[in-house]
Every structure is written in structure tokens, then in C-alpha cells.
Subunit: 185 residues, 2 copies
């Protein structure tokens, strides 16, 4: 949905980048991967529509997790001070979620900072199927997790639960904070 058409150019660039990062020549990479030099040459020139088998062999030969060949490049250093950043105050309760990081194109994992006060609990309806949330409590105490199986958490506690099922977050003491990693996978 966020995708247009196959990222041939990006893959081409990625292959070349990874190849000379590993200090390999076309000939050598061809030998290691079991592919033909010509195939690699064409791929690096953006001409070609590699098969899964070909791409996988490349990933193995280059020692990269494969998605590295198709996914977009990386960011740099970014700092968000406490209180800054896009804060999403929940309509319910005293609950603030600040979006710290999101994977831009296909959105794969978002990072939130949570600040909540005791009171009514925040219930979240299911997100994208396959979503998993990871929660780490920084301060205070909270009751969180799936609505039918919530867990009381203290500072330092870690809880992972499906994000594609109803779940809640309730602060039990004032100024309860935490970090949520939401992976849309």
C-alpha cells in the first residue's frame, strides 16, 4: 500500500554497496554465491528482475539478512527531549503517548514513550494484525496487557503481548512512565 513498484534501483545500489563493503569483486562474489558474473553485473546495473532464489543466494553470500537488500536506507542521530515530540494525549484518562520513532515507508516498528496518571484505564482496540507490543516500565506501577489477562508491572518489568487483540494500560501510581515498542512486523 505504501509501495509503488519493485525497487530495482534500490536493490541495485544495495548490492553494490554491500559488495564493496565486503571488499569483494564481481568475480569473487559470483563464485561465493554460485551465481553467474553476468547476472550480478546486470543486477547492479538495475537491469533485471531477480528470482527469490537469486536474491537469497546473494543475501547469504554477502552475509546480510536479505531484507537489507530490499528495505530503504537508514537514518542518523536524532534526539527528542522529554516533553518534546509529537504527543498523542489520549481522549481517555491522563495518558500521554509520544511517538519517538517510526519506520517511515512500510512502517514496521514504532517506539512510544508513555506517561500516565492513575484513573480510568486506557483501552486500545486491536491494531494491524500481526502487531506485537513490548512494554517496559520505567517508573511507577501499572496494570497492562491483554484485557483478559492483564499483569501488574513494576519498574524494570517487561511485558510483550499481541497488539492485534484488545489490550489496556492503567497507571496505578502517579507519574507512571514506560516505553512501548509496537512492531507491526
Amino acid at each position: 500500500m505504501t509501495d509503488g513498484k519493485p525497487p530495482f534501483e534500490r536493490i541495485a545500489a544495495a548490492i553494490r554497496r554491500e559488495r564493496d563493503r565486503a571488499g569483494l569483486s564481481l568475480t569473487e562474489l559470483a563464485k561465493r554465491s554460485g551465481l553467474a558474473k553476468s547476472t550480478l553485473s546486470q543486477l547492479e546495473s538495475g537491469t533485471g528482475n531477480p528470482s527469490l532464489e537469486t536474491l537469497w543466494a546473494l543475501g547469504v553470500a554477502l552475509g546480510v539478512p536479505f531484507s537489507r537488500l530490499v528495505d530503504p536506507p537508514r537514518p542518523a542521530v536524532r534526539l527528542i527531549r522529554a516533553g518534546e515530540g509529537p504527543a498523542a494525549h489520549s481522549g481517555q484518562a491522563s495518558y500521554t503517548a509520544t511517538l519517538l520513532a517510526s519506520s517511515p515507508p512500510g512502517a514496521r516498528r514504532d517506539l512510544y514513550r508513555i506517561e500516565a496518571q492513575p484513573g480510568e484505564s486506557r483501552r486500545s482496540e486491536p491494531h494491524m494484525p500481526g502487531t506485537v507490543e513490548h512494554l517496559v516500565i520505567g517508573a511507577g506501577r501499572a496494570l497492562a496487557g491483554p484485557v483478559d489477562e492483564p499483569v501488574e508491572l513494576a519498574p524494570g518489568d517487561y511485558l510483550a503481548y499481541p497488539g492485534d487483540a484488545p489490550h489496556l494500560f492503567t497507571a496505578l501510581v502517579p507519574d507512571t512512565t514506560g516505553v512501548i515498542v509496537m512492531e507491526h512486523v
Copy 2:
């Protein structure tokens, strides 16, 4: 390196899973994706070596980020109390990193809880290329980031920086805690 040979079976399963998650028939998916029914049938039966173009078209038609088709399945609810879990005490300084979550096979994003005391700083040599670390301070104060561009952080602060370049973490006050998301991408 963590890879063996192309995950045809996994992709086959993923396609079928995503397809009836979306409530689509083979015929309908064929229409939307612009692919032939026969092609899809063969892919779902594990017979086939799809081209990048084909895989991409599938990802678009199914509305999934593409890596979802090649990557492994999902976990459930998991709880790690403070103090539990596989703790990796750093040889240097008073620094404890507890691994909370890791994506098993292709490893893509790891979640750590950090506990550190003031003293010598912990320097990390570069990890896998393309790695990015996200750091959120829970309590205390710390100096962290790339060695040539460290930042002083207070509770609630968030910092992202390349993990494939030398970086450090120094607690400035006792019992400094934080959460690190390490994405190997």
C-alpha cells in the same frame, strides 16, 4: 549466515495465511495483483521461485510490507520481571544489559533494559552494518551516543544513533536505567 536456502515453504504458508486473512480467493487476488491464478497456485504449493516483481506485486495486493512474506511468525504474551532474564554484565564498568526480546532467526530488532552505575563508560564496537540503536532514559542521567558526538540525557529523553559506528553509554548518576531498541534491519 543465519540463512540456509530460500524459504519457499515459509513464503508459501505466508501467502496463504495473508490471503485468507484478507478474505480473498485465489481468483480475486490474481485480479488485484495482476498475476495469474496459476502462478499464485504454484507459489502457495511451494512449487516456484518467484521473481522480485512477482513478490512485490503480492505484497502490494495483500497490503503487507513485503518482508512479512519472507519473515518468520509471531510470539505471544511474555513477561520478564525486573532482575530476571538473560543479563549480560559488561566486563567494563557497572553496566547490565538484559535482553528482553529478540527476533530469533534473521534477528531484526532486539530490546534491552540497561542498568548502569557511574564510572568508566561502556564503549561498544560497531555491530552489524545498518544497525540503529534507539535509547530512552528511564531514570538517572547518562552520556550516550556516537563517541564523537555524545549527548547528555535526562529521564524521558530519546536518542537514536547508528549502531554500526563506535558508540558509548556512560551513567552520570547512580542507578541510571534505560531501554535500548537495537534494530539490525
